[in-house]
Symmetry: C2
Subunit: 354 residues, 2 copies
């Protein structure tokens, strides 16, 4: 494929990063398979507690000796408003009934988890740590840098990328509007931050001095070459790895992506209180009526947790968050090693023809 | 740069098409300059009547002997609702007052203009005819094909591209979500058709057998190489040509793009009743309150025409439609020949490095 500052610094064969999808998708098997194939497997630890984070890091280490990383959600202090929660729980009641769930919603997680996760990442000598939904405070960046951990922030606009560089990130993942799952936007209004990669990459590359990694809609060698043409040093691919055999995504989630077309994807805040891209379904459609009533992330995320969990257990895709990027027609249900090998061979094949 | 089926069929040096921006931007000077530079200049005739269409075609012909084209808006039969129009005119009244305009709104144009324009294009032997907002009926396609005119449709989804191929188009312009100006969407809901080019191009290329031309956010050699990597045979560039010396865009429109950043662009239906991307301004912000009251295209377009015109004459960018794609940071105020030469040199420079 190609070598550059990123492959050299991180001791990897290919500048292909598996996106850190939270919620059980990034199993140790998936993460290790990507690292073993020459890319970078990433643990999506955004929803894990400290002990779960340590456990999965150790499992990955037992399966690979190659470079891998952990992604954390930078915590947001949105205060839960009791009236708002009562109102939303009333809207959610019919889904709980349909899924035979008890009435009560979930409580919100521990705010100290983030600091505990940081310590674990340092203790376990994880080579790479990436951040979504913002940037860590200065003392944490310092602590991680002293431990020689490679740091990456997520940006959806030029300004966010510049903030990341200023905060000491070693590289920036630029997330285009095509991306599946949660939007990493943290400075701008959500609607101002839906920039397509073909616009976002060159504009960011011109304004920062650290390597740029492109994320969003990239599924095959064509996307990788496009990202590189635009100035990116590497790619981060989510949906392409989500449908792989080793991924922990629900089988109905994989099936839904494999059968989907690009115009079925919508942006919704209904599952978590934060905009994310996924396949339209009954929950998203019905909740769109209550758009103004959705509490901020992470409150809504906490309120819908039991519903999403039960939907998975009951094989009911109507209430699952079926995250996907805008290129579902390019998805395949193959092994990670087949996927990565195909990307490398494909890239080398088209390389001379452009 | 590179040669392929498109450059051969259309007798052009470079597969670079200047987007057919309507509303006075595509002056004969701009169109001819692009064709003379080795690309394809396109007349945006969407808002012109038959006589104006013939006149500009003849002016372009007097300035270039190279391939050029005309773009038409496929007419839509949205019936004007008197109550809706009264309501909207009430909302628009404050702008008319601010601009010292008479109370009455504009009337809607002649529905037969489209057929008249088709006849003129045939009579004047225009080499290329492209369509936005839908596809022409079968008899018109037949008529144009008999005259050996190269036809291109606009698509924002795979399904729309497939429709275009089926309708007899010789090539398809795929318009990514990054694009400035009006969305060409005609089959899907507007919100389902905001697909980024990095996702849209390969998914369309895999599903149609005619050449694909990429449009949206492409401003320099990096964008062209990315589009080609993704499988496009050529590019269509709007904003990059809009800020050129030869373009007829208002000087304040050019200045606004040259100073803008990517997150200032919004999608709005406030000017025309149809979604379009441009720089946020007072009109868009204030009209967003009346979103539900906006009559369909072309009714709203007709109602705001006097306001946009007066705003231009009075150098008041608050009420102008400042269309732009998502890559304003890459815009330059140079001549067309400098732009095209730079694209070609830049492309050849990065060619060997990817």
């Amino acid at each position: 494929m190609f070598h550059n500052i990123l492959t050299k610094t991180l001791h990897i064969d290919y500048p292909i990063i598996q996106a850190p999808m939270a919620g059980g998708i990034t199993t140790p098997e998936l993460v290790a398979a990507v690292s073993n194939a020459g890319g970078i497997g990433m643990i999506g630890a955004g929803y894990l507690n400290a002990e779960q984070t340590r456990e999965i890091i150790r499992e990955v280490k037992s399966l690979t000796s190659h470079t891998f990383g952990v992604n954390l959600f930078v915590p947001e202090e949105n205060v839960a408003n009791e009236v708002e929660i009562l109102k939303m729980n009333k809207h959610l009641q019919k889904y709980r009934e349909e899924l035979n769930l008890p009435i009560a919603g979930q409580t919100i997680g521990n705010k100290n988890v983030f600091e505990e996760q940081i310590n674990i990442i340092i203790e376990e000598c994880v080579p790479i740590c990436t951040f979504t939904f913002g940037l860590p405070p200065e003392p944490i960046v310092k602590q991680l840098k002293e431990a020689k951990i490679f740091l990456m922030g997520t940006a959806t606009t030029v300004k966010e990328a510049q903030f990341g560089e200023k905060a000491g990130m070693d590289a920036i993942v630029v997330q285009g509007s095509e991306a599946g799952g949660h939007r990493g936007t943290f400075l701008e209004k959500p609607e101002s931050s839906m920039i397509g990669l073909i616009s976002l990459i060159p504009q960011v590359v011109d304004q920062v001095n650290i390597p740029v990694i492109a994320a969003g809609g990239i599924m095959d060698e064509r996307g990788i070459m496009a990202a590189r043409s635009l100035g990116a040093q590497g790619v981060q691919m989510g949906t392409a790895f989500l449908t792989c055999k080793e991924s922990g995504a629900h089988s109905l989630h994989k099936a839904a992506i494999l059968e989907a077309s690009e115009e079925e994807m919508v942006i919704t805040a209904s599952f978590s209180g934060k905009n994310a891209r996924g396949i339209n379904n009954r929950f998203i459609e019905e909740m769109s009526v209550y758009e103004g009533d959705i509490p901020s992330y992470p409150i809504q995320n906490s309120l819908t947790k039991d519903i999403r969990k039960a939907a998975g257990e009951q094989n009911n895709p109507n209430f699952m968050s079926l995250w996907s990027g805008q290129s579902p027609r390019l998805s395949k249900n193959i092994t990670v090693s087949e996927l990565v090998q195909g990307l490398v061979e494909g890239y080398n094949r088209i390389k001379g023809t452009i």
